[in-house]
């Protein structure tokens, strides 16, 4: 079987069909369709300012099953604009991904109840069974620093991001990590990623 290929921004991901059952969740009919969780999007009035503030439903990029375990993947490509995102990343990235995970879990379970499919059945089964692991992986791509001291900062950043993500997600899983999918030393069996050049 050919691999399943998805393109997220400038990155192409290939999931080996022999070991992965993966879907692009933010494009999936169970998310975008009329019965999907996005139907609760709307606006709420801020009690202080009186302004109408949007309340949106969030979604991770990919949801996959491998060896009976569930994986939620979020892709962030900060190449070329890391400086502009620096402050936001430090404080908001773990929260942003945490909210996406929250809404994805709710969306998957709701869709399994209201618009069942064999894939959703297996995903919901993995979510609800305590002995099967739930992995959350933040695939974050940044410009690779050239100087040695900057590469050390880069490595430390990945560790700190993983810790922050685990702290935000300890309500549902302890298997949460930040990784660079383009780093050949980061091996997730059956997954390949590469940059698409214009």
């Amino acid at each position: 079987m050919p691999p399943k290929i998805f393109v997220e921004g400038r990155i192409e991901f290939r999931f080996d069909d022999a070991c992965w059952e993966v879907e692009k969740w933010d494009d999936h009919p169970a998310f975008t369709g009329s019965l999907g969780i996005r139907r609760i999007n709307g606006e709420l009035t801020d009690p202080v300012s009186g302004k109408q503030l949007p309340e949106g439903t969030k979604a991770v990029d990919f949801v996959g099953l491998s060896a009976g375990e569930l994986y939620l993947f979020e892709v962030k490509d900060f190449r070329g604009h890391a400086a502009a995102n620096a402050h936001r990343q430090e404080h908001e990235l773990p929260l942003e991904i945490g909210l996406k995970v929250r809404d994805t879990i709710a969306g998957l379970l709701g869709a399994h109840r209201m618009a069942p499919s064999p894939w959703l059945e297996r995903v919901a089964g993995a979510l609800c069974e305590r002995t099967r692991r739930l992995h959350v992986i933040a695939w974050i791509v940044e410009d690779t620093p050239q100087a040695r001291r900057d590469r050390r900062v880069h490595i430390k950043t990945t560790g700190v991001r993983s810790d922050q993500l685990q702290r935000r997600l300890s309500w549902c899983t302890r298997k949460a990590w930040a990784d660079d999918p383009l780093d050949p030393s980061i091996v997730l069996p059956g997954v390949q990623a590469r940059t698409l050049h214009a």
Binding site: V153, D163, R167
Partner: protein
């Protein structure tokens, strides 16, 4: 069939004691890790657990405060233990400060018994013991500093002279004064010792009351060895003489002090290795690497077989005293000043890195 009952500390409740107004700790049977900013009472929790459990054990065994000398009643032993472990000007200073007279309370629960302790701001201690505490094993308290370098003559000096060293140093020197266990090392002790001796590249020996590290090329006096290595050597000798391999309690205040972070993994292995022998551990730390190593080991245990717990101590605005949060691994805790400091540092490092790249 001989059944050995291993008694663990299961719970501590404190009321108006030092930094705490009301706090409860439900401990794991294996490894318990306390984190928190300075002044949140981590060491006080360790010292209280040590003082109370040792007072009760010494009372239950008829050993008295210091072997066969000193007070033998539980109230008196407790008062003397608290005074010598905490070293306050007056015992009543351990009661959380407020206007008027107050009483601090502590309730320590083992699987087989409970002791309820009351301490008035005038320094009067009363204790009520219920249940069976005859199975309580010895506790070892490892303070932040090593004691090998001060060991020669310390016990006699501490007993006869005023000292700024608290009782935990004295009790530790007593434990180090015990000779090695008779016979060949059993497999468990040998397995615990091997990585420590490999890290030291030496074994630990005592000669005429002085500690030495025995290297391939000869002995070196303990005071000439790096402080972090003296700390490791101290633990090695406590394993050699059996003080750390009974089914007792280990209280270890900031193991990382003077130790290179590279030794954090070894520290973790020692603590969890002793857990397998039935030793219940209580550890405070400010160190990111050590806390993360301990959490990694805690998380590797199968779900439902929780043997470790992490406690975050912190002050919440609008609440009196220090609050306690509990988790099975480090990142379960919302209050984590170690990670907060790391995130802050990393943010500034990234800002500096980006400034360099733009210039």
């Amino acid at each position: 069939m001989l059944v050995i009952v291993v008694v663990k500390i299961s719970r501590l409740r404190v009321h108006r004691f030092t930094a705490f107004e009301d706090a409860e700790f439900d401990f794991a049977a294996g490894v318990n890790v306390l984190i928190g900013e300075n002044g949140t009472g981590k060491s006080h929790v360790l010292k209280l657990l040590y003082a109370v459990s040792e007072a009760v054990r010494r009372h239950a065994t008829g050993e008295g405060l210091d072997g066969l000398t000193g007070p033998r009643g539980l109230d008196e032993i407790l008062a003397a233990m608290l005074a010598s472990v905490f070293l306050p000007d007056e015992l009543g200073r351990l009661v959380r400060r407020a206007k008027g007279r107050r009483t601090a309370e502590a309730e320590l629960t083992w699987e087989t018994g409970t002791v309820e302790l009351k301490l008035s701001s005038l320094g009067k201690v009363t204790a009520k013991l219920t249940g069976d505490v005859s199975g309580l094993e010895r506790a070892v308290f490892l303070p932040t500093r090593e004691v090998l370098s001060i060991f020669p003559g310390f016990v006699e000096t501490w007993l006869r002279r005023e000292s700024t060293f608290d009782r935990t140093y004295y009790d530790l020197c007593l434990a180090l004064g015990l000779p090695p266990l008779r016979g060949p090392r059993d497999a468990t002790r040998a397995a615990l010792l091997k990585p420590i001796e490999e890290a030291l590249r030496a074994s630990v020996v005592v000669d005429h009351g002085r500690f030495y590290l025995r290297y391939d090329d000869g002995n070196m006096e303990a005071p000439l060895v790096a402080e972090g290595h003296r700390k490791l050597a101290m633990i090695a000798y406590l394993i050699i003489n059996g003080s750390l391999t009974s089914k007792g309690f280990l209280f270890w205040d900031e193991p990382e002090a003077s130790m290179n972070p590279k030794l954090s993994r070894l520290t973790r292995d020692v603590v969890f290795g002793m857990g397998k022998l039935g030793v219940q551990s209580f550890i405070t730390t400010h160190d990111y690497v050590l806390a993360s190593e301990l959490s990694l080991a805690a998380g590797a245990v199968a779900a439902g077989a929780e043997v470790s717990r992490f406690f975050a101590l912190g002050r919440e605005s609008g609440k009196e005293g220090v609050g306690v949060e509990v988790g099975a691994v480090l990142n379960d805790l919302e209050t984590n000043p170690i990670l907060d400091a790391f995130v802050d540092l990393n943010g500034r490092e990234r800002a500096a890195m980006m400034a360099r790249q733009e210039s």
